[in-house]
Symmetry: C2
Subunit: 150 residues, 2 copies
């Protein structure tokens, strides 16, 4: 399982012409589920995201506070392309990306764990499998890669 | 060296209140340089980005055309946080991230290779080391992680 976390001041997902979800300050998460991922991968990375100290303290010292300590929100979007292998050739190889119902099930469990930790109203979702336009403002920028196998 | 590529319909970098760079359709690249990276890593990933078939063909089949074949642009931003190790604890460990002049030099060489391949006017940059607001619209979304050590 891989996650690209971007620290945002705002982020939204639009499908067609409808804004389906939006947050103010917090994390935009792009989430890739792999063919060999299980509940323990979901467990590991949901804990990691909720406890990750991605925010400064009041004195401006970095990496001090986590998402709930700054009353932040999370916008989560499923992104199988994160599991691409790119070392050979010019086309991405997606054999390690879990797809369809299996991916959606694990992704749903990941969302449930984030909501359990942060509160339902603080965790937004894209539309699994839809063509989405993800608008965001990455402040810093701050972008962190999490990998459950690392 | 790590790159997070996001396929965008627009992207810009603002420092303070000034928009310092912006592109329309193409790639937003967040680029992390590691302490053990050399020119060969720069060479490898610049070739990979320029030849990567991230775009559909006219019939809508995916992964067929590269950035120059679709007359796309690249907005590149230095992002040392991509080299963070996150497996232990709740704070990112940046010991593997190259910093300062050494990072800036390799990053500059990476930019030069992209420009040589795509044309100077098609490759934009952030401001190395500055606090930047990176606005983007990731279409799909499509996000790919490239790692020169993979």
């Amino acid at each position: 399982m891989r996650i690209v976390l971007q620290k945002v001041s705002e982020a939204s997902v639009t499908v067609g012409s409808a804004v389906v979800s939006q947050i103010k300050h917090g994390y935009m998460l792009l989430v890739g589920i792999g063919t060999d991922d299980k509940l323990e991968d979901i467990d590991k990375l949901s804990k990691k995201i909720l406890t990750f100290r991605g925010f400064d303290d009041d004195a401006g010292y970095g990496w001090k506070r986590n998402i709930s300590e700054v009353d932040g929100e999370i916008l989560c979007v499923s992104q199988f392309t994160l599991m691409a292998r790119t070392s050979k050739g010019t086309k991405p190889d997606f054999h390690l990306a879990q797809r369809g119902e299996l991916a959606n099930e694990l992704y749903g469990q990941f969302m449930d764990k984030l909501k359990a930790g942060l509160g339902d109203d603080k965790v937004q979702n894209g539309v699994f499998g839809a063509m989405m336009s993800c608008k965001l403002t990455n402040e810093g920028p701050v972008t962190i890669i999490f990998d459950s196998k690392a």
